[in-house]
Symmetry: C2
């Protein structure tokens, strides 16, 4: 039984067999929330910036984001979208045009009111003579300002579809923040498209939902449930909102990407009109879809363990890190040469249709500290090379996905260098698969399908065993009836996640109202 | 004599031979400034956003920026730097710590004062109850907030150097804006490093100057003069500022990248201290360096012509665009197949150590419109394929760097498809070189080295012939003496550009003061 399995059993059976002294200062069992912060801090991913609600994303965290950006951007471009850049600032008047949208964001908008500072009594203050005539909002999302551009770009059906995307920072003034999951400023991509028909816009909405699903599962090894959000969880101004939902190791849900069919909400507010093939004026049908640095929070809470982060190879800034074990002797030069060759040969190989990313860690620090540093950062493979390895033509291989042997000792395997070179890319593919399979088993194993009543829901989420999600049948109430359901759920600290696209048809009664059910909806705690 | 040369002669001899009807609505001769705006607009690169001072960067403009980002990022990483992300907002108090720095930026800072909007008499207004205790500045540059992070990261000499970079948006509230050259919000990268010694920090400063020079020349085909800025042109807070200066076709200078040695200015303000190897506390020596979307403005004004933009192949979003000439007949399918194969085979080839970027333009528009659209956008090679080409196994090749024959007709050459496939990457390399060589000849041919007096300067810059720059000897005055020089230059609408690193030693008298000269400095008009 490997280390990961020992841990898995320990966690999921509330049965403590763990003999291992772990690298992190706190375990998931002890305090999941403190553990999450510890991973971020001890893996040098990010830190508090001193600016309220804003974080500093450090190289390891940002490197993961760059990998995510590249892989998602490739998919966004492959589906015909082009990147643009739109202004950070949005005039207040743009928001006034769409009431529901502004209601959704007004409470958390950063507002620029001045364009100059002056000295006053030894302090810097906004210059009262440099007050803006119209205050500017720092974009919380860009439907309004991009809609204004679309209205300039679109005249005829021949100008449609418009398929664009933007990588940008956005600001939502959250009162309670948590690194990567909820920060005042965050990084994301936001896609915006305009179409000549409802069908085409819906097709786009679902196509991008599928891009998010496949990106999350294939690249981040994050199994997700794709489906439509209930009415109360829709994006402000959307006709329909779809999401991918991932399950964290504490059983909570994380919304990891959303895709919205906006109908004519923004085209009527921003006047995006076109002449159709019959010569008549029509409003365009628009969509928007976004994925953010939140995904990194999901990666941590799905793949992390008590030794830190485990990064799936496809999104790891470095996939294989080589640590030379130097002893300040004449032998060191040979060890460094041997390591250098190894890295060069690895970087020449391809994996996942890209060059392998191998690093020689030459920093002036103790080899053991470096090893544990990379374990905490979650580099998929750590190679150690000492004088003895050089003499024997070997390397010592540590796989981050199976760190410990059954006896609780670190599983460092000595193999011939040539054998490792031949097996390295296969090993990376295997690690990618193993992380996904683990998470997939956990997701599927923790969706309860047996709950048929409110008491049942209470019992499931109140049980001592860590709950996951409940997939329940419901009558899809709307308006006041839905409000009542949401209110009840709120009392239990529960939320409606989504109606899974691939759930079987309803065949029973609504768990909330007792009426005939029309579909199945996921219920869970959430981030 | 090819078309480009005809144009070149025409422009530089004030001798009008040009028989060509050009694609752009205005020529460089007619109005250089209007021509610049016309290129941006007619090549669909960018547009006014409706938000004061902010532009929308459209796919072709943003695609060029993405290429620049990738190529520069590779070089920044290859020199040992890692990417991070720091907050958009900077508390006022961070600026108060460094007087010279804040003086340099206070007049143009966007200030966030509220974090919520409310409805009042039917309008949205900042909520008076949501006023920030300490206003936040939208970053104009990040020395202060990154310095604060460095002070957390650096304790010992072992923590140094810190070598980081950030790709971000910044805001400087410029009153007079011009697309790409000067906008309230712009995109850039800013590198920030901390070192244990002055020598190492200076080495870094010059290393990054060289990275900018080689990037500009090798990737953007933009010949530049690298050198140190005079004291009056230093970055606020810098001990020394270096720049690369490019010459536009109107003879004006554009500062295309800067690298600053900051000494202990920011380490003392932000308290970046380390224990040196001898156990003593020292202030770190820091640097910063930046390059922005301004580079796109430089690309336009160096490589554009009266038919629009000409994009060097290394930074072109598409290097080869294939336009099928369809006639709504049965032949069309064969033409499309033929074009599709061509693009597939091109994309399989490598150029500049990357895959060729070829595009099949399938949009529903007339072939002639598409051709001229790509000419205006400056795609390096446009291929047209009609039924006759398919029958003959040919393609029609238009090279953007030599658009016209001597007789003023479009130079479209019919060549065998197989020959074109064999020659395509060589052609792209040749175009890259040709654009650089043209610009280099113009730069070197328009630096006057003969001026030895103020009257000479006046005469050179007042001449009917379009002036370039003057490289003059000077005594490197400082303080009030320098102010006097700068004042005089200002009266002539001239500026000091930089002291070229590779200029020969001074051997005469200062053109400004008549004292013995110590070095040579470039004087010119500038953007």
């Amino acid at each position: 039984m490997d280390g990961a399995l020992v841990l898995w059993r320990a966690i999921h059976s509330n049965f403590k067999v763990d003999p291992v002294k772990h690298a992190l200062s706190v375990t998931r069992e002890q305090d999941f929330s403190a553990w999450y912060q510890a991973v971020i801090s001890e893996a040098d991913m990010a830190e508090e910036s001193g600016v309220r609600g804003c974080m500093v994303i450090r190289p390891w965290g940002y490197g993961i984001w760059e990998r995510m950006q590249k892989l998602l951007d490739d998919r966004i471009k492959a589906t015909g979208h082009e990147n643009c850049y739109f202004p950070l600032f949005i005039p207040l008047s743009y928001f006034e045009k769409e009431a529901e949208h502004v209601d959704g964001f007004a409470k958390e908008m950063a507002v620029v009111t001045h364009h100059r500072l002056i000295q006053k009594e030894g302090r810097l203050v906004p210059d009262p003579d440099a007050k803006l005539e119209e205050p500017l909002v720092v974009r919380p999302t860009s439907e309004t300002v991009i809609g204004a551009a679309f209205s300039r770009w679109v005249q005829s059906w021949r100008d449609l579809p418009v398929l664009i995307n933007q990588w940008a920072n956005v600001v939502r003034w959250e009162m309670r923040t948590r690194m990567f999951l909820r920060t005042a400023e965050f990084l994301w991509q936001e896609g915006h498209t305009a179409h000549s028909s409802v069908d085409e816009a819906m097709e786009e909405t679902l196509k991008m939902l599928e891009v998010y699903r496949s990106f999350a599962e294939e690249c981040v090894a994050l199994p997700v449930i794709a489906g439509e959000k209930p009415e109360n969880e829709r994006f402000p101004g959307a006709v329909a909102t779809y999401s991918i939902e991932a399950m964290m190791q504490d059983g909570k849900a994380l919304q990891a990407g959303t895709s919205h069919f906006l109908g004519t909400t923004f085209s009527s507010a921003q006047n995006i009109r076109f002449q159709n093939a019959e010569g008549q004026q029509e409003l365009a049908q628009t969509t928007s879809w976004g994925m953010s640095t939140r995904m990194i929070g999901g990666l941590i809470m799905v793949h992390g363990d008590d030794d830190g982060l485990r990064v799936p190879p496809r999104v790891a800034p470095y996939q294989i890190v080589v640590v030379p074990m130097l002893r300040d002797t004449d032998e060191d030069a040979a060890v460094l040469d041997y390591c250098g060759e190894l890295v060069t040969e690895l970087n020449r190989q391809d994996v996942f249709r890209e060059p392998v990313r191998a690093l020689l860690d030459r920093r002036p620090a103790k080899a053991a500290n470096k090893r544990w540093g990379w374990v905490k950062k979650g580099a998929p493979v750590v190679i150690e090379v000492g004088g003895r390895d050089v003499a024997g033509g070997n390397v010592s291989v540590i796989r981050r996905d199976r760190l410990y042997r059954e006896d609780g000792k670190l599983d460092s395997q000595v193999v011939a260098k040539a054998d490792f070179l031949g097996a390295a890319t296969g090993m990376l593919e295997e690690i990618q698969q193993a992380l996904f399979a683990d998470a997939q088993a956990r997701l599927l194993g923790n969706i309860d399908r047996s709950v048929t009543s409110l008491d049942g829901l209470k019992a499931y989420f109140g049980s001592a065993k860590k709950p996951g999600w409940a997939l329940v049948q419901w009558a899809k109430p709307t308006g006041a009836a839905l409000d009542k359901v949401v209110e009840w759920l709120k009392g239990e600290k529960l939320t409606l996640r989504n109606v899974p696209s691939d759930a079987e048809a309803a065949d029973g009664l609504c768990v909330f109202t007792g009426e005939k059910a029309v579909e199945r909806v996921l219920v869970g705690r959430s981030y």
